[in-house]
Amino acid sequence: MRPTEEDDVSQTSHGIGGLSYDAKKRPWPAEFNVFLALVILVAAFELVGRVFLGDSFLFNTRENVSGLFNEQRLQIIILQVSIVGIIAIGVTQVIICGGIDLSSGSIVGATAMIAMSFAQVATVNGNPNPKAMFIAYGWTDLPVIVPLLVAIGCGLIAGLINGLLIAFTRIPPFIATLGMMVTARGIAKWWSKGQPISFPTDSFAAIGKGLMPVVIFISLAILFQLILTYTKYGKHCYAIGSNEDAARMSGIKIANHKVLVYAIAGILASIAAVVLSSKNLTAQAGMGVMYELDAIAMAVIGGVSLSGGRGSIIGTVIGSLIFGVIISGFTFLRLDAYYQEMVKGVIIVGAVVLDQWRQRRRAIGA
């Protein structure tokens, strides 16, 4: 898929013979198109802003702040997508593998509640912490590793259940993860009987402070881009999503791989839960509602094919930035928040239609 990888061997010793191949006909990487869409979108907001508001979307126009760009806006754009972005990383590898995960938003809710209850301080303003569920056991002011491990455990269990159901009962991923979506949301509400849980320890609160969500999102994105490109795991994800029968014939252990894929998606959702509850200093049963759909939308906008086999984390990251730019751009244009959702819906459908169209055109051209 990389036009730069023109190899002299493949051009000479195999390039002759009856079957011709036109290198110019090779499509450029899908990520490039997505990036182009991002640039066009930013340019559109910039233009509309200059014309109608006399203000710049991208650049710094204030006298009292230094720097070329409006750094505050750029920070907000990436900060508000980074938590769903973490989920989208997991969802991307699930979709590449030919599946879907609807449960991630609910896993965020359940994990946030459970992990937060292990991250409670003992006293608030000199009084015993009213929210600490386990204060009677003395489980307060625990080291930060405890809620972290609890969270990852929750995500892992949920993901494993998803994976095992899909791999061994052979029910469609849509149904398995839909079941988990409803169940995990139920657990989130049941955990504290609907009460929010607040007052986390300072060390827990530090995880989501400031730009930490962005740092975590980008680090995980780089890690998984490398995993999907350079490891056996990544190669098998693409192979299974591309042609499951071929992958099975080739000796890939499909069931094991799927369990691993969904388990990793669950863990990433639980990491998002930690970052989110830490950032908000509270956990609520309704946390993460619709996050699964936003994550899927980010992946789809980023060029990940819902039929599996195609896409990348880089694409999803750019897709998440498109998401952020839209939200931020609407705020910038002082348009009502309702329009955001309407436009988001249009963009999701538009992205899939474009992808289908691109695929069809490519198939005819080949």
């Binding site: 493949s10 051009q11 009856g18 191949y21």
Partner: protein, 256 residues
């Protein structure tokens, strides 16, 4: 016995009441190219599926490479050295050529379980070597299979069988869906395999192709082997007579 690569004895497969394959006795010697012919439903593909472990036989014995074998699945057969080019190709469309060649048996740089780092350079090198060995011409290795023509796909599938030290290659109608030029290319690959002394079973409907390429022709009819003839002892009309049942061939088989 030592130069016999594959031998089946009374190989039988019933699908419920359907006797798809009955008492097939078959032998393949080192370096030999054998064609399997027959009408649709004559048992050709059934025969291949029993050998490659895709299905489990009802009765009979199979010897491969001097040992009696019982393959539980196609992967076991492949590990034993039987490489098959299936009609449905079994390629992953979204992967490039080296990834497809090494699918399920990737070369690894560092072993980290499922997260083992791939040795992409080595796989690329080995792919190039395999393509040279089979004389397969693929213009661009890093192009995905999706962007290739039917002939190129077939070539990749065939090159895959030659990448690994296979002891037997089976091709199930490799040129059925190909154009003239692409068919010629696949046939050239098969000739290269012959020069390299790699034994081959070719399932084909194409009479010209069979007479061009193989040493021996085995005809299936109604689940039975009705003819087993060296190419120079027969001709097209003769083979057609066996395929259609105009000639039954039991007498000849006994004599041979």
């Amino acid at each position: 016995m030592s130069d016999i690569v594959l031998k089946t004895e009374n190989l039988t497969k019933h699908y419920g009441g359907v006797h798809a394959l009955q008492e097939a006795n078959f032998e393949l010697r080192k370096g030999e190219h054998v064609a399997i012919m027959g009408d649709n439903g004559a048992g050709k593909s059934t025969f291949v599926r029993q050998i490659t472990g895709v299905e489990q036989r009802t009765d009979g014995k199979i010897w491969f490479d001097g040992k009696e074998v019982n393959f539980a699945g196609p992967i076991e057969a492949r590990e034993a050295g039987i490489e098959t080019v299936f009609q449905n190709l079994a390629l992953a469309d979204d992967l490039d050529v080296p990834s497809n060649l090494f699918l399920g048996r990737e070369k690894v740089l560092f072993n980290l379980g499922p997260f083992s780092i791939l040795d992409r350079k080595a796989m690329r090198k080995a792919t190039e070597a395999a393509l040279v060995r089979t004389a397969v011409k693929i213009p661009n290795l890093s192009s995905t299979i999706r962007h290739m023509s039917g002939g190129q796909r077939q070539c990749v599938a065939i090159a895959r069988t030659a990448t690994f030290a296979s002891k037997l290659i089976i091709m199930d109608e490799p040129t059925a869906a190909l154009g003239v030029q692409e068919t010629a290319q696949v046939e050239n690959i098969i000739r290269t395999l012959k020069e390299n002394g790699e034994p081959l079973i070719l399932v084909s409907h194409n009479m010209r192709q069979v007479f061009d390429l193989v040493d021996r022709i085995v005809v299936f009819r109604r689940g039975r082997i009705v003819a087993n003839l060296r190419k120079q002892d027969t001709d097209g009309n003769d083979i057609v007579a066996y395929i259609t049942g105009a000639k039954t061939g039991q007498a000849e088989l006994q004599a041979a």
